[in-house]
Subunit: 214 residues, 2 copies
């Protein structure tokens, strides 16, 4: 295993592709595949082999020319680059349908994301548990976030409450916000926001189907 | 409004960024903003202004040098490019937590995506309604997909059933699959698959936080 270049400037686009590589490499590893070429990987995930080689070269040398990438080694290395070799504690604010779905989403914990608390304002929900994780009143965000060393806060409240919840999270010491509300959140520069919009996947589908159906 | 270039070869990466532009332009339009520069748009969504200009130039000339883009015009144009100026009929297969959340997700229909049917195998769920949309047994996929002219099928069943459901969808005439199962689906080349993995957003967050916390 080679050290990755510590001071390289990595573009956001590259960082956003790494989890994609990681996901497919992990699937390949589980299928027992030992070596994969940038051509094969690229075909699977819809990225050109040139782009893959360029992205990975920013972190060091992971492949062998004319052979391919060693799947296990590359998976472990990308996992380390992404910081997936440690545990992240996460919280969810807003137990609507999406919050409920995320609280039950099984795919997070194998990647090191551990749900530690859930917040809501509905008295009927507070004190209940989802998968053994308690639902607390949002007024307890400062106390619980600190006590449980939670670094990442998920925002699944309605758009009109999203900024207030984000501010509470940030004041409580949260360093990363995963936002599902369709608004732009204001945070200090020390806090990282990732916004999800589920309609983006559908929109790009719409593009391809428009061209196919007419 | 200028015609966009019909025969330009557009990269997948560009197509994937268009919904991002569309989303923020729509927000800007709702906020009453009339003109936006590629610098401002880029800052908001984390894409370089050069990239934005390059992406949009592939479709035609939407901006005015030294002024910026006319928000309303550009929003409408990108909407047309993405095929969002028409109605798409969609179905969901698998009423677990995520399927339930998607069936309740309010953000689809304003963009032209209309949920027309839901499928499951659980006798307790079949015949029930989510937001006035009926849950049918998956055996009725061929009949319902055809009768309701459904073009896009969402897969929220467990991974081990995802391929079977996809095959049913494709045989019923579905042209686009929106896949939430963590597996690679086999489809004919005439069918377009968009795969979502909610842990990708968390993984890129993990990268940034790793660098901040140590």
């Amino acid at each position: 295993m080679k050290e990755h270049k510590e001071n390289a400037v990595i573009s956001k686009a590259t960082i956003d592709r790494l989890p994609l590589y990681y996901r497919y490499l992990k699937l390949s590893q589980e299928e027992g595949i030992e070596i994969i070429s940038s051509d094969e990987l690229g075909r699977k995930i819809g990225v050109t082999p040139e782009q893959i080689r360029k992205d990975l070269s920013a972190f060091g040398e992971f492949g062998k020319k004319g052979v391919g990438y060693y799947v296990r080694e590359l998976t472990r290395n990308i996992g380390e680059i992404l910081g997936l070799n440690r545990q992240w504690n996460i919280a969810i604010a807003g137990v609507g349908h999406l919050g409920w779905a995320l609280a039950n989403y099984a795919n997070f914990s194998p990647q090191g994301f551990q749900l530690q608390a859930i917040f809501d304002i509905d008295p009927d929900k507070i004190g209940r548990y989802i998968n053994e994780i308690e639902i607390f009143h949002i007024a307890r965000i400062p106390e619980i976030i600190a006590a449980r060393n939670i670094q990442i806060g998920i925002v699944t409240v309605p758009a009109e409450y999203a900024q207030d919840i984000t501010t509470s999270y940030v004041e409580a010491g949260i360093k990363g916000i995963w936002n599902f509300a369709p608004i732009k959140l204001e945070v200090p520069t020390t806090v990282h926001v990732v916004s999800e919009d589920l309609s983006i996947g559908l929109s790009s589908m719409s593009y391809y189907l428009s061209r196919q159906l007419y």
